[in-house]
């Protein structure tokens, strides 16, 4: 099994304008997803939701501290899961079920620190 990160890129305004019912449904969708990961033969190795980009602080190479996310885009990284899957096909199959109402997800293999992938 290999670890893959499922990065959720969403338009933050979708969340800002969400009704309490829609929010409840989204929380349920995530809890369903975490069960589906196991049903599909994968497993969950971690994951977090991130607070909105307005709370972000960026420190660039020279040590300059600025307000805001590293890159300003319409869709921002809003959270992530780390799953274990057999291969990329399996990881994609799992990631297709991940809720991302205002955007989509990106699948990236997690690097094993004992080997250099570059």
């Amino acid at each position: 099994m290999t670890k893959y990160a499922i990065l959720i890129y969403d338009d933050p305004t979708v969340y800002e304008n969400m009704s309490p019912e829609a929010w409840g449904a989204l929380v349920d969708a995530h809890s369903t997803f975490t069960k589906q990961v196991f049903e599909l033969g994968g497993s969950l190795a971690g994951g977090e939701a991130l607070a909105p980009t307005m709370t972000a602080t960026t420190i660039k190479g020279g040590g300059t501290v600025t307000d805001g996310p590293f890159v300003e885009t319409k869709e921002a990284l809003g959270g992530f899961y780390v799953v274990e899957a057999r291969d990329l096909d399996h990881a994609v199959e799992i990631a297709k079920l991940c809720p991302a109402p205002g955007g989509g997800v990106e699948v990236r293999p997690v690097v094993d620190p004992t080997m250099n992938p570059f």
Partner: protein, 426 residues
């Protein structure tokens, strides 16, 4: 053993056995680069061994054994190093947790060459990388030749191939034939890559003619292999039929000066009748296997043209009917434009003009030179020389192909002369 005979046997083995030898070696090596090197070494040692002992009865089996032995030697030598490298994902036996494996009854685990093709054409790779990888790995075409075929520099192509291989191993794209449920969708990506390979070779214009002919031959070989290995997937036969029927016209697509010739002006007596006959047979088989897909329908359209003694004597109502069915499974503006061109022959140019007006509002066709070129042709046939000239000029602005521009220029000159000869209005 004669050196010539050995060289010829080796060249033949390279053409026909490369994919077979490489795909079997990948299973031992677990790494595409290592497998490629071992296969190359096997071909080198074959030159010596076959000169000494004669060409073996089954050259492919000889080469596979040699390449796999080299891969095993390497694995033993580099066992500590190997542990640090990601291996290609390839279950040694049937994996009870893997639905894709369970789907194929044990003995039917498909030909290794299919694993290689499906890996090279994986949908998570960039489309241009799929075609390049297929040429390099499945057909064994050296990287400089792949680069020349796609008119890019050798370092650019080498980097493209390396990036794709790296993604296969780092992201763990499995070395496997997809499950039957996924097969039609995944197969589409493979068939599209082979079709693109063929089109790159077939489109007249830039590039070395010999390299281009080689691309068409490689694409035909791949289509034949896919049709032989996955006959129950009718679209594999649809692709083979389409390529055969299109390739039958290869010799007549340009004149002696390399100028593009339209279907109307091609010498139909020089079409390759053997290829047409085979193409028609293969296409008929695909059509008879259930609701046809887009490739089978395109092949059927090419078949109607191949059987027609001239442009005028073409069964245009049948062509329009086939385009209707094609639009139902593959609704793209380019298909709709081709349908409109067929309507112009079936029902007259005036009937097709409103269809073009409708297509002109589609932003996807905004820069498509064939839209104004088709309009120009319809207006020319309707006797509207001024309108035709305007559309030919627009088409010339949009095309990047030298042979096409020369053709449009010639047509523009013709209609301009006709317009000049007309009496002034009023």
């Amino acid at each position: 053993m004669q050196a010539d005979a050995v060289a010829a046997a080796l060249a033949q083995a390279h053409r026909s056995e490369w994919a077979f030898v490489l795909s079997a070696t990948v299973r031992v090596a677990g790494d595409l680069d290592v497998a490629e090197e071992c296969v190359q070494e096997a071909y080198v040692s074959a030159l010596q061994a076959w000169t000494r002992d004669g060409v073996p009865e089954r050259p492919g089996a000889w080469l596979t054994t040699a390449a796999r032995n080299k891969a095993r030697d390497r694995l033993r030598r580099e066992v500590t190093l190997r542990r640090k490298l990601p291996l290609l994902v390839e279950p040694a036996t049937v994996d009870p947790h893997d639905p894709a494996d369970l789907d194929w009854p044990d003995a039917a685990v498909p030909d290794d060459r299919l694993r290689l093709v499906f890996t090279c054409c994986h949908p998570t790779l960039a489309p241009e990388a799929r075609v390049a990888l297929t040429l390099r790995l499945v057909c064994g075409v050296p990287t400089p030749d792949v680069a020349r075929a796609f008119l890019v520099s050798e370092p650019t192509m080498a980097a493209r191939i390396t990036r794709a291989k790296k993604k296969i191993s780092e992201a763990r794209i499995p070395y496997r034939v997809p499950s039957r449920a996924e097969l039609p969708e995944r197969l589409d990506s493979v068939l599209t890559a082979v079709h693109l390979l063929f089109s790159t070779g077939h489109t007249a214009g830039e590039g070395d003619a010999l390299v281009r002919a080689e691309l068409c031959d490689r694409a035909l070989y791949l289509a034949r292999t896919l049709a032989a290995l996955l006959p129950e997937q009718a679209e594999t036969r649809g692709l083979l039929g389409l390529l055969l029927l299109t390739d039958a016209r290869r010799a007549t697509r340009t004149d002696e000066q390399g100028q593009l010739l339209l279907l109307a002006d091609q010498d139909r007596t020089r079409w390759d009748q053997r290829a047409i006959l085979e193409g028609l047979t293969v296409t008929a088989g695909a059509l008879a296997s259930g609701p046809p897909g887009r490739l089978t329908l395109q092949a059927a359209i090419a078949g109607v043209h191949a059987m027609a003694p001239s442009l005028e004597q073409t069964d245009w109502p049948r062509v329009v009917h086939l385009y209707d069915r094609l639009l139902a499974v593959w609704n793209t503006p380019v298909v709709a434009l081709n349908r409109a061109a067929a309507v112009a022959f079936a029902d007259g140019p005036a009937a097709a003009l409103p269809l073009l007006d409708e297509l002109a509002t589609d932003p996807r066709l905004a820069d498509y030179p064939y839209l104004p070129a088709t309009r120009a042709d319809l207006l020319r046939r309707l006797g509207d020389a001024a309108g035709a000239a305007q559309s030919y000029r627009r088409a010339m602005e949009l095309t990047a192909n030298a042979a096409e521009r020369a053709f449009l220029e010639q047509r523009l000159a013709e209609v301009s002369r006709a317009a000049g000869a007309e009496p002034p209005p009023g």
